[in-house]
Symmetry: C2
Amino acid sequence: MATFIQPKILKGFRDFLPSGEIPRRCLIERIEGCFRSFGFVPIDTPALEYAEILLGKGGGETEKQIYRFKDNGERDVALRFDLTVPFARFIAEHRSELPLPFKRYHIAKVWRGENTQRGRYREFTQCDFDIVGSDSPAADFEVILMMRHTLKAIGAGDVTIRINHRGLFNRFLSNLGVQEKSREILRTVDKLGKIGPEETLRLLSESAGNKAEEILAFIKVQGSFEEILQTITQASGGDSPESQRLWLIRRFMIDTGTADSFVLDPSITRGLDYYTGIVYETFLNDLPDIGSVCSGGRYDNLTGLYSKETICGVGSSIGLDRLIAGLEALGKLEAKLTYSKVGIACIHEGAIGLYQVLAGKLREAGIPCEVFLEEGKLTKQFELAEKKGAQWLIIPGTEPLTDPLTLRDLKKRKNQEGLSWEEIIPILLY
Amino acid sequence: MATFIQPKILKGFRDFLPSGEIPRRCLIERIEGCFRSFGFVPIDTPALEYAEILLGKGGGETEKQIYRFKDNGERDVALRFDLTVPFARFIAEHRSELPLPFKRYHIAKVWRGENTQRGRYREFTQCDFDIVGSDSPAADFEVILMMRHTLKAIGAGDVTIRINHRGLFNRFLSNLGVQEKSREILRTVDKLGKIGPEETLRLLSESAGNKAEEILAFIKVQGSFEEILQTITQASGGDSPESQRLWLIRRFMIDTGTADSFVLDPSITRGLDYYTGIVYETFLNDLPDIGSVCSGGRYDNLTGLYSKETICGVGSSIGLDRLIAGLEALGKLEAKLTYSKVGIACIHEGAIGLYQVLAGKLREAGIPCEVFLEEGKLTKQFELAEKKGAQWLIIPGTEPLTDPLTLRDLKKRKNQEGLSWEEIIPILLY
């Protein structure tokens, strides 16, 4: 008796059937279309790199989650766990070959051996975009403008982008005299949304002592963008390059008619240490509870691990899985089983060459067309066409190129008879 | 003194800068466009799988080249080394969820720890397409027709697809009484092109004794498709289902007006054991020496390792790296540094919001447009625009939306002055 290997995949990994893969692709292609229209260009880097490159000076959580092993040449290698570290290495290595400022995007798989119980995957797609080599507020603004534009373009509706400035927050902490605790304070502030103000206050007291209340008041300031900016400027010791930058960015928002989409939110800090300038998170107005679908910020030293030359930048990352879940909940994810618009029924196998000629005429007119390959009853072919998700089916005659054709609308289950292929093309195109 | 990690990548792995990545993407997108227009749909599978799944019953060369390791949960895992084995596993697992015949394509990275000296990469992209669940000659024909169509559509010019039928070859060997040596004989025959007829004959004598000359004569038969088919039909004991199938496929070629692209070549056998029906290799007429850019064949039991249910199919794989090298040699690979058609010079940083409004008007008209983010001399901005590969640059006035604009043709280095944005759009579109 033959023994079989059970066909199964690793926990936390996924197969994508066409029903899942086509909507993913449609979404990614639309996102890429937006990026490209802003002048962002794609790069790619290896999935596998030296572990030393990816881990840098080592980092607790990452080290535990990374897929790391010795290759056949005994090299210490690992699968990338994000696209930021490879991008830093890429810029350090290729800086002289790239025109700066450099606007890049990178959409690719990454791998983390995470706990899968929280609905997390061990293989997932990241979608990053950055502008490096420019410290200009124009770059800060372009990244958040493109986020807003892209989310609208894919049908996610109106968004709220909550922004803040890490530098301004640090000025505020210096002003309070607690700057040496800034790391712990930032981490706590970042949790406000999750743990609520009371618990935040308790944790802040641990690091900032009697300044905790002032910090809480700072991060909870209410009002318009302008009012909040005035208040936090004051609290951070008055006018500064950071507050000036926010005023300028605000002007760009007003000039582009996008001001309503942006909220100044001093509680947004983004936990990551490497952000130094503006930081932001993006929420869907129709579905705020799923959390931020696109976040990022400005950093002043991307390549610090690899080179003494510093390079600054500003960037963002779309959480694709979360966004897909959101679009699905909103009914805005294109459900599509095929790219083909029309099928050609197989009445007689010997006529396959002629069916392909007929299909070729439709394809040339820009209509994707699938030839059915197996003879069978018409009812069977209708069934197959519906399963495949086609909208239309052509039923050819004995002479497919000259006999009149029947065009079936598979949704309405209605036939139009006596058509030529020239007559069918405009029906399918419009 | 700070120590830095040297930014470097593993041997056999590649970074893709925009100058390499954009042409790759353009090519892949055009290939996908063709596949989709024939009704083929995309799937995706994990990069990492159980080693047992990928290695099956173990296979010498593969086992040595595969990236295999224990994950953090002590599972024996490996990176996929091709897309065929994961596809077999995928079909065994999801068969009941898919409408058959199922036409899929899969374009994705695979990893092999190969010797890099022969110009091979350890990470490369495979591009596979298959029709499974149909034994029809219509499926055989569709795969080779789509190969021809796709290679023409991407600008590779005329192709010659050399086809053969493994079943017919086996009949011939049975007829000669050497069928039990068919494996060794097939392997030898496959080398004819590389080692020449004399060495082939010597090797054939080792496995087929005094039948070697007859085998060599069989694989070297000359003539038209029809003449060769007649000769090899005779040599394999007369008319058979295999010869019938080839006659039918020939008829499809004639009906579609593609007969000139196909050659019946009894020396094509494809080394892989699992092919059982037609097999084929594809050569660029303008560059035959680079070898086959697209090969494959029919198999009768894709999922044999995982299930007792058999499923047949026919498929093919494009060697993307080889094809890119070929297109480059032919001057047919699109050289492109950016998707953006026009830049907007940054005359005054404070006007960035208005530049973005202007850019938005062009983007809405379908013109990708990049806003330059840093103030600087116009000559510097011309330089940057040229480095970025833009064709045009807009030089805005003090009031970007109302003052007349200057449009610079960066190739001709000529300016057109006094234009409105409405006047610029048709210039850039056509």
